[in-house]
Amino acid sequence: MSEASPHFPLDTADDRTLVGRAADGDVRAFEVLVRRYGPLMRVYASRVLGSNDETDDVVQDAFITAWQQLPELGDASVVKSWLMRIVSRKSIDRVRARRPHVDVDDVDLAGPESATPSEVTEARSRTQALSIALTHLPEIQARCWALRELAEYSYDEIAAELDLPATTVRGILARARKALIREMEEWR
């Protein structure tokens, strides 16, 4: 795509170069970052949101914020995790706006429809089995799982983002993992 320099296309540039240029106002460099990390952010946002409906909006919001704040990003080597933080924040804001007063315990403990192991059993691959198993998790468990496993948040960070005590987060994650391991056991 972008041919900035003879023999040195912009889309082969490292993050530091792209961040430096984008912070200086180079929209093409920013576009390379959007294409490089956008798919990751979209997949992640869909997991946190629990659907694809709002992914476009949330990821767009995240990149608009990123563009505004890029000049303040001190260390360009962390741009990927920095973008993941922004899209996490935007996704969680969106979830909050949807239902301002979620009772976490209800959502977590009531659980979804009882799992249908046959779906998991019939999955073509281990990853597909996990994908199905994830849809059986209560929302809050799936969200904590995404924050922990995909965005690599610490328990304390998840707790801060979701306004929950860290001990609650720990319990939610343990339940999520147990449920996933149990469901994955069905897949052979």
Binding site: S5, D24, F30, V34, G38, G171, K178
Partner: protein, 214 residues
């Protein structure tokens, strides 16, 4: 293929899949999760030497590995789906937010007040640096009070060079290209141009024969 296994059950009621804490040497699945999250450090012999704990740890590890695989597959599928969503992002960012300071440009008419934005000058510098070939300019800084006519400035650019370029030569060519571009389009008094080469990259598509070009 191995399948994630559950730890030994506490009872044979066929209902509970929860491992007994007794069976885990007093550890809970939460604790084992934490232990894994900490990278299994510092080593805890009561976990490391317990076969039951090891089975749970393996299940948790396998789950983590599958999770990462799933994420990677999803990202691949997402990338293959196309990038139709990029356009509206680029349409919605505020490009003028990067204009920076106004740099005066002399005009024969005393009533005319011409300025170039700092952002535009940085764009000139980038383009000049990129044009030398085999290098890519990164960030660009203009130091000095550029809002004053004929201000003295120090330019600092970061650059990456392709592997095979002589770094000192590349830096000289970048300096020369930027200097002549600034002389041509601005009235800035260029005191110095610092080129910081921060990376040497292997070209992905460039034919190897061209790597020898100085």
């Amino acid at each position: 293929m191995t399948v994630p296994e559950l730890p030994p059950r506490s009872s044979d009621d066929g209902n509970s899949h929860e491992p007994a804490e007794d069976a885990l040497g007093g550890h809970t699945v939460e604790e084992l999760s934490d232990y894994l999250d900490r990278g299994c450090t510092p080593p805890d012999p009561s976990i490391d030497d317990s076969p039951e704990c090891q089975i749970v740890l393996e299940s948790l590890q396998r789950l983590r590995a599958v999770s990462l695989n799933l994420f990677e597959e999803d990202v691949k599928v997402e990338s293959e789906r196309g990038f139709s969503w990029v356009g509206s992002i680029l349409d919605n960012i505020a490009v003028d937010a990067r204009a920076g300071r106004d740099i005066p440009v002399h005009h024969p008419s005393p009533s005319a007040h011409l300025v170039m934005s700092e952002g535009a000058v940085r764009g000139l510098i980038r383009a000049a640096g990129d044009s030398v070939g085999g290098v890519l300019i990164g960030s660009c800084k203009l130091e000095g009070d550029v809002t004053v006519p004929r201000a003295s400035v120090v330019v600092t650019v970061e650059a990456s060079v392709l592997w095979g370029e002589r770094i000192a030569d590349a830096a000289d060519r970048i300096r020369g290209a930027i200097y002549s571009e600034l002389m041509k389009h601005t009235e800035l008094q260029v005191e110095a141009i610092h080129v910081e080469i921060h990376d040497v990259l292997i070209a992905r598509t460039r034919p190897t024969t061209e790597l020898e070009t100085p």
